[in-house]
């Protein structure tokens, strides 16, 4: 029986991990993700899990240890935020190219500087080309559900890539909200045992992992890795379907909210999507055909599907909670607009940067943005929401 609860996002993910019972969890603390290994270490101390918990000396080490354990044949996980992830950078690429399906529960926090502990997506967006799968959550429920689904996606034979399960620092990680937890047995059966095909501790089959690949092989290896990312799209949908059959909660690559006849749309990632939904409802009641797309999966990027979903809108605002310093706006803006162009979607699009370093996003901000779309008062290039001019 599923259970109604009230938990913070960090507690919810820690409980999902207790239910998954991974083999190895190396961790180094950093705000706001610290609570996840903190809660989990109490599960270890209480004997509620069989996990080998390894306190390490840095995030470079936590990712290296997680990767090493995964290569050895263990299901592994680690947690981090912001600069902690920046220190993992080198190893992120190695884990992905070695095709090791470990999980990273990332609590999004801005990258310094200025130094700040609050939410934006600059940490994970910076790692968008590292070859990791990336899923994002609007609230605690989604953070929990995404964690439960993570290994089924990552370990699938057509994928075998590491997965980053992201949630917004403080906004969901430290907020207590209602949530439905599946029971331990349901999660255990859904996730299943990890049975790697090739692993270093298999004495029957010696293996070299991560060998030097000269130019004759390196490009083919990268192309094969790109194919795994392509395959992930279908696997994510299949796993979501199976999860829905058990829980009744539906997940896709993105969620369309009141998009059926929408003329003015916003595309957004993470916790601000909930706030935007309230704005959509308010504007709909005033007669505006407003709609919202909440992107759940950023890697692989569902460009074609998004362009299709935006086919009939007049204007769209693509929201980025990360600066690219590209003089072109943010990463979601760049990728989605490229996808729209490729798919011959000619809706007017603007790219809006918002919520940097924890800048609060209010319903009123979102309403004003929709009105701006309706007026057609679109700035050239890109703009900022909630910024003091």
């Amino acid at each position: 029986m599923a259970k109604r609860e009230r938990l913070s996002g960090n507690e919810a993910v820690a409980i999902a991990l207790r239910q998954i019972n991974p083999d190895v969890f190396p961790a180094f603390p950093i705000t706001p993700s610290t609570e996840i290994p903190q809660y989990f270490s109490t599960f270890v101390a209480n004997g509620q899990v069989d996990t080998e918990f390894i306190p390490v000396e840095s995030e470079h080490s936590s990712m290296s240890a997680a990767m090493g354990a995964e290569a050895a044949g263990a299901r592994s996980v680690t947690a981090t935020s912001s600069c902690g992830m920046a220190l993992m950078w080198e190893v992120l690429y190695v884990a992905a190219s070695d095709r090791l399906p470990l999980a990273l529960t990332l609590v999004n926090r801005t990258l310094t500087g200025p130094i700040n502990i609050n939410c934006d997506h600059s940490d994970s967006m910076g790692a968008r080309d590292s070859g990791w799968l990336q899923v994002y959550a609007e609230n605690n429920q989604e953070a929990y559900d995404n964690m439960v689904m993570a290994y089924r996606i990552a370990e699938h034979k057509d994928v075998r890539l590491p997965i980053m399960v992201c949630q917004d620092g403080f906004i969901t990680s430290h907020a207590v909200e209602n949530i439905i937890l599946e029971d331990d047995e349901t999660v255990k059966n859904f996730v299943g045992e990890y049975e790697p095909e090739a692993y270093l501790l298999n004495e029957k089959q010696p293996m070299s992992l991560g060998p030097y690949a000269i130019s004759d092989y390196c490009m083919e290896a990268k192309r094969a890795q790109a194919q795994a990312m392509h395959n992930a799209k279908q696997v994510i949908l299949d796993v979501a379907k199976e999860y829905e059959a058990i829980t009744g909660r539906h997940y896709g690559l993105f969620e369309e909210y009141r998009m059926e006849d929408a003329e003015y749309a916003v595309v957004i990632i993470g916790s601000a999507a909930g706030t935007a939904k309230d704005a959509v409802d308010a504007l709909r009641s005033q007669g505006m055909k407003a709609g919202l797309i909440k992107l759940r999966v950023f890697r692989p990027f569902p460009g074609k599907e998004l362009a299709e979903a935006l086919k009939h809108v007049k204007r769209v605002a693509v929201m980025d909670r990360a600066e690219s310093y590209s003089d072109q706006g943010g990463p979601l803006g760049a990728e989605l607009m490229a996808a729209m162009y490729r798919n011959k979607n000619t809706a007017d699009a603007i790219n809006v940067l918002y919520g940097l370093g924890g800048r609060d996003v209010r319903v009123e901000h979102m309403e004003e943005l929709y009105r701006q779309l309706e007026r057609g008062d679109l700035p050239e290039g890109y703009s900022y929401m909630g910024l003091r001019e």
Binding site: A198, Q205, R223, Q227
Partner: protein, 104 residues
């Protein structure tokens, strides 16, 4: 996922290359002739050699094998010609020479 070693060649396509370029097989370095990397190789003067075996552990390429307590001739397919064995031999029994193609 046994790696088919015949596929590990520069003509391999991205569809065929192993996942993560893994090599799932043991002793595969034997198939890689690092002996091609040099023009000079170690030759052991059988008269001077006392079978002390001090050349064996210092060879970085394991090109001097031991059988029944005695070393075998230098494995020309894998000797890279570094000359460490020459420096290490207490009896000046090893020297570096251009490869003698006829008798190996």
């Amino acid at each position: 996922m046994q790696t088919d070693m015949s596929k590990l060649h520069p003509g391999i396509t991205w569809r065929e290359i192993t996942e993560g370029t893994r090599i799932c097989a043991g002793g595969t370095s034997r198939e890689f002739n690092t002996g091609e990397w040099t023009t000079v190789k170690a030759y052991i003067d059988e008269e001077k050699c006392k079978q002390c075996l001090l050349c064996v552990p210092v060879c970085p390429d394991s090109a001097i094998a031991v059988k029944d307590g005695r070393r075998l001739p230098v494995d020309r397919d894998h000797c890279k010609g570094c000359g460490i064995c020459v420096k290490n031999c207490p009896f000046d029994a090893i020297s570096m020479k251009e490869e003698e193609r006829e008798n190996g």
